[in-house]
Homo-oligomer: 346 residues x 2
DNA sequence: GAGGCGGCGGAGAGCGCTCTACCACGTGCC
DNA sequence: GGCACGTGGTAGAGCGCTCTCCGCCGCCTC
């Protein structure tokens, strides 16, 4: 477009030194005479030099990017593909993941490239992109327990870190939450509040996290003399929360406490409860999970089990960094503790 | 890590042809004898060859990425930086933008790298990233009318396309909505429903879009014998919608129709209305704007003015593509028409 | 049958950077 | 005073790809 961009060579000529010397001051390696450093810096200023990333990548075999991939298991049709992105980001959870990842990456001059892998082709593309050196590694957030992407990545020997333990074992690092403890926290709170007829809306039971939240919840209740708990399975969406709550209420109209496996479903449950004339929390107490943004925007504000998503995402980025740099070779896992946040709904 | 990745050279040797021929097959340029093509393809298969993006970029001066930047005007402190990302994605609007952009990019083998530019340093980083050839151009979504980034980009001669007309004129292409018509649509619907005491919650009046939605709304009402309309300014968030509605209700308790400048604020308004014993839509009709995901998940489902965000975002990507390829040199703008979507709230 | 032409493959020159030599020059040490 | 050594610089060999130029060969034309 405009004149050819200046190269190291141009700066070197301008400063009257060699290309290598300019490269050294740009990258801050080895000792370079302060006077010469100054000379070079001024020459860079004058020429408006910006190092060419492609050239640098070619020799260092390092990019400044990592892939941030949101992965499904499905084989969704092509027409659903952009809807997938919108659907994914409809859950405030992903915004927090992005925030946490960027928080770690940015200070290191790195950037995430966003990829969606909900079809077999899309998954192959992710693998191809990494193999071609488009990014140094992948941060994977699966929306489905049987997601084949982690295995694909591991098989190709590509650096990757997962959010949540994969459905079947894969030699990859991951971060996760002590979901069981989260379920326990919710149960204890409901119990302390004096609830006696407690029910729960779980996440998809194919997802390990849902199972564990439920297990922790159930165990705690059982230990306090509530051997059986009405359960309805939801799908982590507002709608599914409404449906689940509706059926729960039909069979157990005297329910006075509900634990939902995420905040979106809690929101749905609260709506149904109100529509059926129940006051929240007076008649029925509701505890959510995640502590997402909806927890504070909906009314009543949700009492919920907080998942430190930003922190988890940042750790994910850190682990990936270590794998890429070779500072860590064996897969590891970091498990975070949930925390009860008491607001108005319970 | 494992053995060195195979190069074009390796494939060429394996196939018994020259590097150039392999390159031709890989890139599908010029005629290559079908028999030789087959030979090469098999060699690629056997070696597991993946072209090195960095090397390719170095000579073609083209990446396979564009920057998708969410930009503020502020000078937020460092500690707020990851919160910015989470806040941004808390509005379902951005998920739709991402969906639209990816929808256009993906079939072309391109990918978005996510960047946030809410501080002067972050803005400089975006410019630097592009100048270094990290991405071929930028898709900019500003959250503030005085965002300096567009001017920075234009000044540096970098290809960029904006979502929404910039505050001050900048020689860059953009896509936008006919906000005025949106306001008109909302007014007409409220009028047709028989509302007589109509009020509105606007977006931040510093934002041109807010001004225009308001202007279209007011003009239409005036033309139908409603010269003055109670107005409260909001900030496009649920909370601000609640605050605005509260003050509106205090001064005009007999309000029977409300137009809010986005769905999030409509949600807040509905909550306040209910808390004050008003039934929606029976006592007060509420019309939102955007047709975002909350419009269908909240109760009652929102009647709203639809903004074809995915389509707008895809067009933004297309325009950027044209600018990058040089197929388009002069800035242009594409304006989309809003559409009324009638649901339950009005 | 000679000349021209078009289809197809090969050779080789970079793209802009990093990084490993290597060299020139003091300094300190025995 | 000679030698090892540290310091501050240069030279130049690639990194893996694309793309222009070139030459070969077979076919058409007259």
């Amino acid at each position: 477009m405009s004149r050819q961009a200046p190269t190291l060579e141009d700066v070197a000529r301008e400063a009257g030194v060699s290309r290598a010397t300019v490269s050294r001051v740009v990258n801050g390696v080895r000792n370079v005479d302060p006077a010469i450093q100054d000379l070079v810096r001024r020459a860079i200023e004058r020429t408006g030099y910006a190092p060419n990333q492609a050239a640098r990548q070619l020799v260092t075999r390092r990019t400044t990017t990592v892939a941030l991939v949101v992965s499904g298991a499905g084989d969704a049709s092509d027409t659903e593909q952009n809807a997938f992105a919108a659907r994914v980001f409809a859950d405030p959870f992903f915004g927090r993941v992005v925030g946490g990842v960027v928080g770690h990456l940015r200070p290191r001059g790195m950037h995430p490239v966003l990829m969606f892998a909900e079809t077999p082709e899309a998954r192959q593309e992710v693998v191809a992109y990494l193999r071609q050196g488009g990014a140094d590694g992948a941060l994977v957030v699966s929306t489905h327990p049987d997601d084949p992407l982690p295995a694909l990545l591991a098989g190709a020997g590509l650096p990757a870190v997962l959010f949540a333990r994969p459905g079947r074992p894969v030699p990859l690092s991951y971060v996760d939450l002590a979901h069981r403890d989260g379920g326990r926290l919710a149960a204890e709170h409901l119990l302390e509040r004096g609830c006696r007829r407690i029910a729960t809306v779980t996440g998809p039971l194919a997802v390990a996290a849902s199972q564990e939240r439920l297990a922790g919840f159930r165990d705690t209740l059982a230990r306090h003399g509530h051997p059986c708990v009405p359960v309805a399975e939801g799908g982590f969406t507002v709608d599914s929360g409404m449906a689940a709550m509706t059926s729960l209420l039909a069979e157990h109209p005297d329910t006075d406490g509900v634990f939902t496996a995420n905040d979106l479903m809690a929101q749905g449950a609260v709506q149904v409860l109100r529509d059926h004339g129940r006051r929240v929390p007076r008649d029925v107490a509701v505890v959510g999970f995640d502590d997402s943004s909806v927890a504070v925007t909906c009314r009543p504000r949700l009492t919920t089990v907080r998942q430190p998503v930003e922190e988890m995402a940042a750790t994910m980025a850190r682990l990936l960094d270590e794998h890429i740099k070779g500072a860590r070779t064996e897969p590891t896992s970091v498990i975070f503790d949930p925390e009860l946040v008491v607001r108005d709904s319970a």
